[in-house]
Subunit: 340 residues, 2 copies
């Protein structure tokens, strides 16, 4: 169980590896199911979600599965379901307004996720990850009604009605904690929280509208949590103070340097540029090896990309990535033996 | 000359302030000229460029002017002129291919920029800034043919033909140095280099395809250089080793923390979220004051936004920003006097 060992900073030999969006469109077997079913059908039908979750596990020697789901389903559980439109992304037909906070429904459990988790767990022995969006990120999607270049409506609300915005974050935080604990009860071994829009927010606002809610989630979720966001390297010390199980980082930092800034008790996850998987084999191996050497011997290192794998990634290049990590492991073990 | 003093880490009292894109669409007097002339006409006609450069100086008590121009004109000087299409941005009808490198024209001077600089200098006493895009950023625009979500073509080239890509960066670097020194000869007092797409590139690639060229520019330009990019806080120590006059930072970091990581000989510029300028007056003042207090007494601090001012910013809120900085100055001076 390399992944769980790493989340407790107790991994030896090669690092564990999993890939953000590893169950996804770059796999032909995924596209085959996607041709017949919408994204919402796939995520809401436990048998399909479980099948898709298992696809990358069957193809590659990965060290974790991650349940096929979406960061925004908390919104659905509060009565605001997103549609997912090809080429557009998630869309909420009636974006949330400040006056709507009191109308948010009491949370309904997302049974379909739990059922998919139970199906996957009955078929795999490697750890299974659950996940959710973070409160600020989900709030932003609900307020903007979908993706946004600049989160203008969200920031208007946040700057003009900060107390009201915080009430929304509190409702979301409680719903996320309940949902993640349901996922854990159904069988996931650890969870990742996506603060996907962290880089839109200035640090003084992150301190008010993100970190306190992340802290509450970390403290109340019953399994190790990995916090992921892009552009977070400049304040990693502040994230470390939230005491997560791990921090996922994008490609704009040197993981060994990040390690020097924070406690060895917190796992570090990352951080290969997903576009390296379009490079020639030698470059893929070289770029992976840079990261492996850089983090060599770190018992809390989890290999991953710095962001989700891209939809048109050649699947054979993922084999090269994983083979490089596993080969490196051998060298490392023998060097440890010879030097000890 | 507070700005130049700060660039030599010798400023006392309140910090100097200028605003990225301070000459721009948020000003009604700018929009009036823009109604009659295209962006290219405005930038290529020295009288118009000078007039627009002076507009924010006439309206606000800013500590620097910045010439009205574009980061991509180096491409034009090499025979690849961009068009600027409303709602789309810069467009190059024939994006650059690897085979085109040998066809890049010998550089033609961008006389219109120099003439605009001379016109501005004859009318202002505050420092005037020149600027250019950085080699990697300009190369990316030329290869993609405009803006891009993921720089996919650029990264294909970079990973598959790195030596050829470096030849392009060398051509651009030499052209940028020559152009910036022309701007300095015409009268600018300092220059800013925009590595606008730094956050698209992983740190191992920045070390190969950005930093060495930035270093060459810093070493060969005859006036202080400010390096600006977004998402750079995680590797600020590496940028500091390029020995620029200053580093411009986005809003995702704490400037005092950044200061603790690098030499006091390098100015730090930033980093208010431009969207704070849509907040109520009290919030604008509070958020400015946080930064001012945080950097209080730092002789190398330059107040700016963390990115360009947004086109629909209420112009009166820029008055609030500048007034806050100037009022803070008074408090600071008196406290210095009383404590010394």
């Amino acid at each position: 169980m390399k992944l769980l060992d790493a989340l407790h900073s107790q991994n030896h030999g090669r690092p564990p590896v999993w890939i953000m969006r590893q169950a996804g469109r770059y796999l032909p077997e995924y596209r085959k199911i996607r041709e017949k079913h919408s994204f919402l059908e796939m995520t809401h039908t436990p048998e399909l979600a479980a099948k898709v979750t298992l696809q990358p596990i069957q193809r590659y020697e990965l060290d974790a599965a991650i349940i096929f789901s979406d960061i925004l389903f908390i919104s659905e559980s509060l009565g605001y379901p997103f549609e997912f439109i090809d080429g557009v992304g998630p869309v909420l037909n009636t974006p949330l307004l400040p006056k709507d906070i009191d109308n948010l429904q009491k949370q309904q459990p997302l049974d379909f996720i739990e059922e998919a988790i139970r199906l996957v767990k009955s078929q795999v022995s490697i750890p299974l990850l659950g996940f959710s969006g973070a409160p600020f990120t989900i709030a932003s999607y609900m307020i903007e009604g979908g993706s946004s270049r600049d989160l203008k409506k969200t920031k208007q609300w946040l700057f003009h009605q900060p107390d009201n915005f915080k009430r929304l974050l509190e409702v979301l935080t409680d719903a996320i904690i309940e949902n993640l604990n349901d996922q854990i009860d159904a069988g996931v071994d650890a969870v990742q929280i996506f603060e996907s829009w962290a880089s839109h927010l200035a640090l003084p606002q992150l301190r008010q509208f993100s970190f306190p809610y992340l802290r509450k989630i970390v403290e109340n979720v019953k399994a190790p949590t990995i916090l992921f966001g892009r552009g977070t390297a400049g304040y990693i010390e502040e994230l470390a103070k939230l005491h997560p199980g791990g921090l996922g980082l994008d490609w704009s930092c040197d993981l060994a340097h990040m390690r020097s800034l924070i406690s060895s008790a917190i796992a570090l996850q990352g951080n290969l540029d997903p576009q390296v998987l379009f490079a020639p084999e030698k470059t893929i191996r070289d770029e992976c090896t840079k990261i492996l050497k850089n983090m060599e011997g770190d018992p809390g290192f989890i290999f991953n990309l710095g962001h989700g794998i891209l939809p048109d990634t050649p699947p054979e290049n993922v084999h090269i990535l994983i083979d490089t990590i596993k080969s490196f492991s051998c060298n490392k073990s023998s060097s440890l033996i010879s030097s000890s």
